[in-house]
Amino acid sequence: MKAINEMRLQIESRSVNEAFARATVAAFAAQLDPNIEEISDIKTAVSEAVTNCIVHGYAEKVGRIYIWAAIYDNGHFKVKIRDKGCGIEDVRQAMEPLFTTLGGERAGLGFAVMESFCDKIKVISKVGKGTTVTLEKHFKGRDADNDRG
């Protein structure tokens, strides 16, 4: 599948950039004419992935977060969020709802939220090397909204 358009964004893992990252990716995705719910889905999923890079991947230090996104024919959208942080030992366990290694104010629901708001999620991680989360979503778009009335 060949992308119609691509973007890349590199940010420092500072929490103030969470809002910047989700808004920027959502603005790029807007080229596919998604409806409001679909834009919120992307915003929320990207916010989860970027927050994870900041609070888990780089924890106490500041590193770089690499975001790549692409749009395809027929309303298909893909976004990849990568850190070069600590990595995840057991990805399957990490993705279980309510699993968290931090506790406190973390609910352990980031991956569950990404899964419920996207059509497809892929997580590749290596301890000491970092983590890449790839999210895919098909937009039905505003026309679908109108059809629903």
Binding site: E18, E48, V55, E105, A107, G110
Partner: protein, 103 residues
Amino acid sequence: MAIRISSTPVRVTVELSGEIDHHNAAALRLEADEAIQRSLAPNVRLDFGEVTFMDSSGIGFVLGRYRIAESCGSHIEVVNLSGRNYSMMKLAGLDRLVTLKRK
């Protein structure tokens, strides 16, 4: 992101507005907890009516306040939830710990 707190003998009301994410939640937490702990009211109302965005940090925020309120013997109700935020909180099972009310 803004927080407004008001208090009566029976209820502490915490009105949130704007976007709740990991970055914003830290400041909200401090203010909300201070008000909850200072008051002796049996009911804590978290008003999400003006919340325009939240991710799982919003769920963590409610969970954290639930723990504080429970230790003070008070009950939490989360009100004016958008359909979307209501579903996220249900997904998290928050309906078993606090009262959830949609807009």
